[in-house]
């Protein structure tokens, strides 16, 4: 009888550790963050958190710095994602063709992805150094005007996008390469019979069949780009003049530099809603597209 109970509940018992882990490490922190977001608290041991209702949210929604951070986050995300997807697909297509040294090339392309973001942030900071950095030396060598890169409020965010593209395009390429491997050959043979050109085949066969894969890759990357923190913190810390302050950086500043835990929490709740919303939109788009080609 005892064994029966165990057997009948096996699925619960085996999933329990994972469920407990999710509850303790994910659900609890999120709910706690939501709770704190209604309080004013500086982590004090003497003054307890003070209930302020929706005040934190109201202050944030009226805060120009918050909206600046929303703008920076969106710009960074959209631009980085767009470039990464286009480049990633292109590189994947190149790397699936046969040529000598293909495997070496593949490995080299994947290297940036496995490096530590903070360390890379520091390296890029040196590359971008306006007086002694490699980026300007290169520009000077080809006769172009040296740039300020991270030190200019106008160029800083684009410079960071370059770093992100350098580091994460390989991930898109990797997923797309896997997708390419699953495309059957018969549509291409049929197209050859019909006399289709290379471009035609790409537009009408490869791209449609690859779309679900690209969407998955883009979605994974979207969530990651949105919460980019390390490279920004390691290079500009949100500067100059707040030009690269994304929601994550502002949240960090509010929490650990201003010690406004309530405000930081409400910012994170809003950020959570934003990530959630964008992901839902992406899933919905993917469903619609899949429907179209089925």
């Amino acid at each position: 009888m005892q064994y029966n109970w165990f057997d009948r509940n096996l699925k619960w018992i085996y999933t329990m550790p994972a469920v407990i882990f999710v509850l303790v490490m994910m659900v609890f922190p999120i709910l706690y963050t939501v709770r704190i977001s209604f309080f004013e608290w500086s982590m004090s041991a003497i003054t307890p958190p003070k209930w302020v209702g929706l005040d934190n949210y109201m202050t944030l929604l009226k805060d120009t710095r918050f909206w600046g951070a929303v703008r920076s986050t969106m710009f960074f995300t959209v631009a980085a994602l767009a470039v990464e997807v286009v480049l990633g697909v292109a590189i994947a297509l190149l790397l699936t063709r046969d040529f000598r040294g293909k495997n070496v090339m593949k490995t080299i392309f994947l290297l940036p992805m496995v490096s530590t973001p903070v360390a890379m942030g520091l390296v890029w900071q040196l590359i971008y150094e306006p007086t002694i950095g490699a980026a300007n030396m290169l520009l000077k060598a080809v006769g172009l005007k040296p740039q300020l890169w991270l030190a200019s409020p106008d160029q800083a965010i684009s410079s960071l996008i370059i770093v992100d593209v350098w580091q994460w395009t390989p991930m898109i390429a990797l997923i797309v390469m896997a997708g390419l491997a699953t495309i059957p050959t018969d549509p291409y043979e049929a197209a050859d019979v019909d006399g289709a050109g290379r471009w035609r085949k790409f537009i009408s066969i490869t791209l449609p069949l690859l779309k679900p894969t690209i969407m998955v890759a883009a979605m994974l990357r979207l969530i990651d780009v949105l919460k980019t923190f390390d490279i920004i913190y390691a290079t500009t810390q949100g500067g100059p003049n707040l030009a690269t302050e994304t929601l994550n950086i502002y949240g960090y500043v509010l929490g650990f530099q201003y010690f406004k835990l309530g405000m930081a929490s409400s910012l994170l709740v809003l950020f959570f809603a934003l990530v959630m919303g964008l992901t839902i939109v992406m899933i919905w788009m993917r469903k619609r597209m899949e429907g179209r080609y089925e």
Binding site: I20, A45, T47, G239
Partner: protein, 455 residues
């Protein structure tokens, strides 16, 4: 049924264990603990056990958290001696500056009774830590032992570490803002070392030659880091961040000081100065590309160490140049030693602080290049061997007119610094009409001050 219960228990236990292990892992991240000192000590202990002399803290142990700062490196080799003397074990952990603040904050929030003693930045976190009840005031201890001679510590250094009239921590590192310059360039151009801000501006203009990649002036340009370095300009023009309970960063004196600093960097600074904190700024100075540099004296080694600097032997030091109110650099405690309010053994913790900040150890750490707060050590010729002779004179001169803070003295220092930094950054990015910007920043600072009054 029994059999099942046992199984269930086993399963449950392993889950709990796994959870605790995870929790333990997440706590341990990023720390380097120094147990070597402890190990060495067990040996000396054995030797000393034969003759159990007066070891007041036999069997006790305390945890010390330091920043990755030369002071920590200087004191660690002496800790075994202290352990042998007192019988106490000292466990040392070190962290990078930013991580240190985060770690302390998180640990104190949970009411933890470790670390017992920790390094902290009195002007940056001191007020917050104190008001949050994380720091044990040291007034009851400092005058207990006349030999400790608390009055020997410089007044403005102690002032930096005092909150609401209570001694929140003991100063261990003091610093003043000074002027670094290139002796060779000034000599070649026949320029005397600037004694006033006006002379400095003139000399900077004369030596600025961007076509040859030689820039007149460099200092911190990042929003928050620059605030402490612009403060001496502000004081020397007769201003301050606040005046009693009123924010004062839009006064004519303040605008004049901010404009001088911002314009020097904008017009005569190296490219990219807007994104420079001190490591980048002194880095480019050490590359030999800048004529004048102003920052804290405590980082001078980055410029005089031949392995880091191409101009190690060409550097001159001068007191901060005088503005319309004279030369008034900050003279502050950049690092202090404080005691956790929840420390279990406060006597042992104080014994360690007393030893580490006593005359003997301050002399030793200062000889290793850590400028301390004790006048007697500065007056002792042995106490200044760790510094270039010229720098010692400059430090002694700077201490005289020094101001005991280098940033707004509020609880929300981070936010207040950003308000001040905003004004200077606007000047650096070319904003001509600075009064409205300053008025707005002043309002923000006033809100911070008013909010804190009720606390």
């Amino acid at each position: 049924m029994k059999m099942f219960r046992k199984r269930w228990l086993g399963q449950g236990l392993s889950i709990v264990l796994a959870a605790t292990m995870l929790a333990a892992c997440s706590n341990g991240g990023g720390q380097t603990s120094n147990t070597a000192a402890g190990k060495e000590n067990t040996q000396t202990d054995k030797v000393n056990n034969a003759a159990p002399a007066a070891k007041p803290f036999e069997g006790k142990s305390i945890t010390l958290v330091t920043a990755n700062h030369p002071w920590g490196d200087a004191i660690k080799p002496f800790i075994p001696e202290f352990e042998a003397e007192t019988g106490m074990k000292v466990k040392v952990e070190s962290y990078f500056e930013d991580q240190l603040t985060q770690k302390l904050t998180v640990q104190f929030t949970t009411g933890s009774n470790t670390p017992d003693v920790f390094m902290y930045r009195p002007l940056q976190e001191g007020k917050l830590f104190f008001k949050n009840g994380w720091v044990h005031p040291l007034d009851e201890y400092v005058n207990k032992d006349p030999e400790y001679d608390f009055a020997d510590l410089s007044k403005s250094a102690v002032g930096s570490a005092t909150v609401d009239g209570k001694v929140a921590g003991i100063p261990i590192i003091t610093e003043q803002e000074i002027l670094y310059y290139r002796k060779d360039l000034l000599e070649a151009a026949g320029i005397a070392v600037p004694k006033t801000i006006d002379e400095l501006v003139a000399a900077v203009k004369q030596l600025h030659d961007p076509a040859k990649e030689m820039y007149g002036f460099v200092a911190r340009g990042q929003r928050s880091p620059l605030v402490t370095q612009v403060s001496s300009f502000l004081f020397s023009e007769g201003g301050d961040f606040t005046n009693g309970d009123k924010a004062a960063i839009n006064t004519p004196e303040a605008i004049k000081a901010f404009t001088t600093y911002g314009t020097l960097l904008k017009d005569y600074g190296p490219p990219g100065v807007l994104n420079m904190s001190w490591p980048q700024a002194i880095g480019i100075f050490a590359q030999g590309k800048v004529a004048f540099y102003t920052d804290a004296n405590s980082i001078y080694k980055n410029a005089t160490d031949p392995s880091k600097s191409q101009i190690a032997d060409k550097i001159g030091f001068a007191p901060f140049p005088a503005g319309s109110a004279g030369s008034k650099p900050y003279n502050i405690t950049s690092w202090g030693l404080a005691m956790n309010a929840n420390a279990v053994n406060k006597e042992a913790a104080w014994a360690f602080i007393e030893w580490a900040t006593g005359k003997e150890m301050v002399l030793k750490t200062q000889q290793a290049g850590n400028p301390g707060a004790r006048s007697s050590v500065w007056d002792n010729p042995e106490g200044t061997t760790g510094f270039p002779a010229e720098l010692v004179d400059v430090i002694k001169e700077s201490v005289k007119g020094g101001v005991d803070h280098d940033r707004p003295t509020v609880i929300s220092v981070g936010e207040a610094r950003d308000a001040v930094g905003e004004i200077v950054q606007q000047i650096m990015t070319g904003e001509k009409n600075i009064q409205p910007v300053a008025d707005k920043a002043n309002e923000a600072l006033q809100v911070i001050i008013d909010n804190e009054k009720t606390k």
